[in-house]
Symmetry: C2
Subunit: 120 residues, 2 copies
């Protein structure tokens, strides 16, 4: 197992931004805890339900910055999605034995809320 959190975080990022969500999920620990804007997500199944629909609407992603060490990695990236043209995100992840066990996930929900309201 690779102990570098940054390497794991980048491999995870490359997988989901490359629309290979199943490969992305191989980097997610079964007992992942993710603190996202809407609240805490617990477990890989719940994380899949959170992240899968986002990957579906993803058009393009570009890394802004990525740093880390053996335990923690911090990434910021821009994404283009179908409903929202500029939707940057940031993630601070804890990695153990090559799997992401904790993620602090940050993005602006406002334009997604606005797009949802406009669609209904």
């Amino acid at each position: 197992m690779d102990s570098s959190a940054l390497k794991t975080a980048l491999a995870y990022h490359d997988a989901w931004t490359g629309k290979d969500f199943e490969r992305a999920m191989t980097y997610i620990a079964d007992d992942i805890v993710c603190d996202a804007p809407a609240g805490r997500i617990e477990g890989a199944a719940a994380y899949r339900a959170f992240m899968g629909p986002f990957v579906e609407i993803l058009v393009h992603a570009e890394m802004i910055a990525a740093y880390g060490d053996d335990e923690t990695a911090l990434l910021m990236y821009d994404t283009e999605t179908i409903p929202v043209k500029r939707a940057p995100g940031a993630e601070c992840v804890t990695v153990k034995n090559g799997k992401i066990t904790y993620s602090r996930f940050l993005f602006d929900r406002a334009p997604f809320d606005a797009a949802r309201r406009a669609a209904t």
Copy 2:
């Protein structure tokens, strides 16, 4: 002048989270460009008008992670504010000659929008 972007970003962060906004502004370049959730902010005066009111409502801040090198720094932190109890933010800054010249600023506007609606 210190060339370390991380050192400047941390000094800036310490100043504004310590409510010393005038000291914080000494780390902001006159011609700063900041890409924030609501759009681009250009120049120190506009940045002051953006950031000053946030510092006014700040109760407490805690660093989640901070990384960087000589040119760029990436920070994620949690804040407690008067209207929103948990308002994390992330900033990716470019530093030149000890001043922040560019900032990519990320936070979730949704709870602030909700608090504003609730107040009116």
